[in-house]
Amino acid sequence: MQPPIVDVQKLQKVYRSFSLTGRRRIEAVRGVSLQAFPGEVFGLLGPNGAGKTTLIKMLLGVVKPSGGTAKLFDQPIGSTAARSRVGYLPESLRVDRHHTARSALRYYGRMSGMSSAEIHSRSNELLKLVGLEGRDRESVRRFSKGMYQRLGLAQALLHDPDLLVLDEPTDGLDPVGRNEVRKVIDRLRNSGKTIFLNSHILQEVELVCSRVAILAKGEIKAIGRLDELSHRDEQQLVVEVLADPPESGFAEDRDLGDVVPDWQAIFGDQLNDAIESIQVGGVHRLTIGVDDQEQINWIIDTLRQSNQSICRLQVRRESLEETFMRLVGNDLPGENDLPREPEAAE
């Protein structure tokens, strides 16, 4: 196994502030440990105030940790060597108004220690990649938020970093733009880059990330591959069986209370969990928690033996959103829980 690109061990960050009302102490990150490996697209998920941005700032050396250790490329975070191999796209890129896309790239390229020739050749390539070709001499004053994001992506890639830290990369982009960014990320992953992605958009994370960490209240709630995160032992069998044929009129007009089968009688004590049953448009939809395929087979056999007519059958596992909600549902911050310091907002 290759050594990790990002190696975080028990990282902590405590913000302290003083005011007339007294001292404030906010634990933004509480002993987070995670690793991201070469070629991975690592997603960082969490509600507002979970500590995601603080974690990213610590990785970039913008914020100093209060405890724990973290390394990028086996170098201490914040070191020049570590930072020179990182490309960062901030959540809301702000470029000084006197710049054009090209001059901004030249400026950021110089900041990364690139030569003029390198900047020139890479700029052409990246402006084309992010779709700003032809608008590179235009003042950024006229740029939309989406164009800023594209420019931000270009500057993050300019010095060909080994690790990309993308903070909400598709924020402000239209669906086409999002799709393009996803393609860029795919291409970068394929070229061996490691991507550290911070996003609110769960579907996007599901689409591009190979591993994710879910952060809530400064703690890692779960970390791993997407399929590892969903509860495999909590898969559900959804079965739709036809109700009795209607004698007159529409099924909705009938009093179904009398004709609902007694599922408890049909299945007996063989099922651990309760059966959810709802009547939907002339069918009964049963949602049954199952442990394994043998149990699924038994349920189907039992239904058929009790003359139930199965019209649809689906074995469903937990979605990322459900996993996320299951893990952080109780930790979602109320209005009073949100930290007031902007730095500690996430």
Partner: protein, 818 residues
């Protein structure tokens, strides 16, 4: 690796160039330069008389009145000039001759003189032969009428008038500068030559522009524009990206700081280079030192920007940054103002200007017009004559005339008026009574120096040299009488003198004067003698000893040649050694024997350059501005050797060191040099004392007294070849008064801690003129003011301040979590 930081700095220039305010500033600068570009000048002979050319109206009135009414003067140059005045002025002059107090406007006198230059029928070569003609006039007189130009003719006429009325006019440059704008002359002109004009531009005009245009307007504009640099950088979308780059936070902040100076640099470059080109092309002043204004202005801006930067880091708000910086600017201004106030009213007036010794006692005259003696018991200077700072009185340098007797005089408003207000009495200070002053003999009006030479008390003013005996001066003061003025209660006591001495004297004098006039108004002779006295001529006891044919003209200097009984006198281009008449100790005769010119030396030029004169037993030292110092033999005034002024500074004063054939030289930088001659070689040794304001040779103790640091004094032994030579043998470190304590313990520390931005204009003045100190002021040495430009102090204080601010900012930026 500096590439990233260079990028930050370059980016700041781009940001500045994209600022609309910068372009507005550029346009304003271009308009200003375009408005200034048509300025020009031309240099002409100084011909026209202006009211301020008339050094003393009273003297002129008296002189003209005499020329008008005295039959002896009817055919002299004075009489001929007096006749050219219009009838109404002549009528007034006659009234003056009759003793009436008639006011004649100086402008009217000057206009009449200007009118008389158009028709020179008043000129008679024979009449002017007896006048003292300056070299320039002699040369112009030699020109044939058909070869003289109109300006030269008018110049000649002016010089002839000046020769006819010696001592009346202020010494002015032969050339005048007239400024023009787009070909039109300004109504005013400068009575200065090109060289002085250049000095004026370099020492005053450019620093003032630096203060107002660069130091105030552009700095304020710069702060407005740059206040947003740091708050903008701290925006999350900008800062986090910058901090994620492989660069140092400290260097990033410093680069931003340097880049922030880009705005002011771009503006100042245009303004200063524009001014330099205009001065070069339009005024022929090609002084590349003017370009020093660029770095100094940027440096000045850096002081304020460092505050703005720290405030921006702390509060992340441009408005707060501007507010804090403005408050800081106001604080600096107030501290500077208070410091200037203390310099002008507390420190300045206390500076020792003159010293007189009697055994171990010492009496000093201060720049503020006070007379004090040192009280050993309290270790403090005690007042003999207090001064009112509004009056600008002048103390005639005190001199020891006998044991426990020091003579001086107080010229009320002497700084503004050659003759002061009211009459002038000799004050004899009594050492047995805490140097209490005793008014005595009437001194010739306008007396600027007193000398005690072999029992004679000599008074020098711009009209002549008058003498009485020391014994007469002492006896008239009543100091040695049993019932002294103070104890008898019927004379002016020290308290009266202290409160409003001049006013009281004036009342007494007026009564006395009326009495004199009443008695003497019996003939023309009486009027004339009174008029002569008004002009600073003889008084009842002080009789003229000036040799015939000698006319005194500023710059006027005199020094006693040790114990030889000679007085060395310099009068604008003429150096003389005068042997004074012997006295038997009794009163001078009514018609005193004039001094004899024992040696006479006419200089090659007769410029009005500022002059310093010193004499010892054997030698005379003569220093004129812009010329090497001359070391002359006191006997025949032959030049022994010439040497450059020590330390390339101007000489403020020099004193002969007794018989040691050495001179102590005080230069404008406040340091003392001991010049020794060995054949044709002059060696100069610098003494340790700094901030020296006065030097005096204490002959009985064979010491050089050096007054420094306002009111401290060191005595340096003068023992040529001895073991103690130039060793400090005695010091005075007086206790300070209440205001001085406030200055020392509160104001000075505050000024030290506050960056002295206001003083940077002095740095500019020094850089542009190439001189760190110079002398300004009138002809007599008492009216001169030594200006020592503070070059290093403001630079050091501002540099330290910037370093502290940037250090705090860098620490904050490096440690803060953003």
């Amino acid at each position: 690796m500096i590439r990233p930081y260079y990028a930050v700095i370059a980016d700041s220039f781009h940001a500045a160039l994209s600022s609309r305010i910068l372009w507005i500033a550029f346009v304003a600068i271009w308009i200003f330069l375009a408005a200034l570009a048509p300025i020009g000048y031309h240099e002409d002979y100084t011909t026209t008389f202006r009211w301020f050319d008339l050094d003393n109206g009273t003297q002129m009135k008296a002189m003209l009145a005499r020329g008008l009414v005295d039959p002896k003067e009817s055919e002299t140059a004075l009489g001929r000039i007096a006749k050219t005045f219009p009838d109404d002025i002549k009528r007034k002059l006659r009234q003056v001759a009759e003793g009436e107090d008639v006011r004649i406007d100086k402008d009217a006198l000057a206009d009449s003189l200007n009118d008389s230059m158009d028709d020179e029928s008043w000129y008679d070569a024979e009449a002017w032969r007896s006048t003292v003609r300056l070299r320039e006039l002699r040369e112009l007189d030699e020109l044939a009428d058909d070869k003289i130009t109109q300006p030269e003719r008018r110049r000649r006429a002016r010089l002839r008038i000046e020769a006819a009325l010696p001592g009346v006019f202020t010494a002015q440059s032969a050339r005048s500068i007239t400024l023009s704008y787009a070909g039109f002359d300004f109504p005013a002109f400068f009575l200065i030559g090109k060289e002085q004009f250049v000095s004026l531009i370099n020492q005053f005009v450019v620093p003032i522009m630096m203060d107002w245009l660069l130091g105030f307007a552009l700095i304020f504009l710069g702060i407005l524009v740059t206040a947003s640099i740091i708050p903008d950088m701290l925006q999350p979308g900008s800062l986090h990206l910058l901090l994620s780059k492989p660069i140092s936070r400290t260097m990033l902040l410093l680069s931003k700081f340097i880049g922030g100076c880009a705005f002011i640099f771009l503006c100042v470059c245009q303004l200063v280079i524009g001014l330099w080109l205009i001065a070069g092309f339009r005024l022929d002043i090609w002084n590349p030192r003017v370009l020093w204004c660029i770095p100094v202005a940027v440096f000045l801006f850096a002081v304020f920007f460092s505050v703005s930067l720290l405030a921006g880091l702390r509060w992340r708000s441009p408005i707060l940054s501007i507010g804090v910086t403005c408050m800081f600017g106001a604080f600096v201004l107030v501290i500077g103002f208070i410091g200037g106030y203390f310099d002008g009213l507390v420190r300045g007036p206390d500076r020792i200007a003159r010293l007189a010794f009697d055994s171990t006692d010492i009496v000093i005259a201060t720049r503020g017009g006070e007379l004090k003696y040192f009280d050993e018991s309290s270790n403090a200077w005690e007042d003999v004559i207090e001064a009112d700072f509004r009056q600008r009185d002048l103390i005639v340098p005190p001199i020891r005339i006998a044991e426990d007797k020091i003579a001086t005089a107080k010229i009320r408003n002497g700084r503004f008026n050659l003759y002061g207000s009211g009459s002038l009495d000799l004050l004899v200070l009594d050492g047995t009574d805490n140097w209490s002053p005793h008014p005595g003999l009437r001194l010739p009006n306008g007396t600027r120096r007193l000398f005690n030479i072999n029992g004679m008390l000599v008074a020098l003013n711009n009209a002549g040299l008058m003498a009485t005996t020391v014994s007469k001066a002492v006896s008239e003061s009543g100091v040695d009488e049993v019932g002294k003025f103070g104890s008898a209660g019927d004379g002016p006591t020290r308290d009266r003198l202290n409160e409003d001495g001049a006013g009281d004297n004036e009342g007494v004098d007026e009564a006395d004067e009326n009495k004199t006039l009443a008695v003497e108004k019996i003939g023309v002779t009486a009027w004339i003698s009174d008029l002569i006295r008004m002009q600073g001529g003889e008084t009842e006891e002080f009789r003229s000893i000036l040799p015939a044919g000698v006319t005194l003209t500023e710059p006027l200097r005199a020094a006693v040649a040790g114990d030889t009984g000679s007085l060395v006198l310099y009068s604008r281009g003429r150096l003389m050694r005068l042997e004074l008449p012997k006295t038997d100790g009794a009163s001078m005769e009514t018609s005193a024997v004039p001094a004899v010119i024992a040696a006479d030396l006419l200089m090659e030029d007769t410029t009005a350059a500022r002059t310093t004169l010193a004499a010892s037993d054997r030698s005379v030292l003569l220093s004129r501005a812009e010329s090497p110092v001359k070391w002359l033999d006191s006997t025949d005034l032959a030049t022994l050797v010439e040497f450059p002024t020590p330390g390339d500074q101007s000489i403020v004063s020099a004193v002969g060191l007794g018989d040691s054939d050495r001179f102590a030289i005080l230069t404008t930088d406040g340091q003392v040099h001991i010049a020794s001659r060995d054949g044709d070689d002059v060696t100069v040794r610098l003494l340790d004392q700094t901030e020296v304001t006065a030097i005096e040779y204490d002959a009985p103790n064979r010491c050089l007294a050096i007054a420094h640091h306002i009111d401290s004094i060191d005595w340096v032994k003068i023992d040529d070849g001895g073991a103690e030579d130039l060793m400090v043998t005695r010091t005075i470190r007086p206790s300070v008064s209440s205001w001085r304590s406030v200055d020392r313990y509160l104001i000075t520390p505050l000024r030290t801690m506050t960056p002295q931005t206001g003083e940077l204009s002095q740095t500019v003045a020094a850089l542009i003129s190439g001189e760190s100190s110079f002398v300004i002021g009138g002809g007599s040495s008492e009216e001169q003011e030594v200006i020592q430009l503070k070059i290093a102090r403001p630079v050091i204080s501002c540099s330290l301040f910037i370093v502290v601010m940037l250090t705090l900012a860098c620490i904050s930026f490096a440690r803060h979590d953003y």
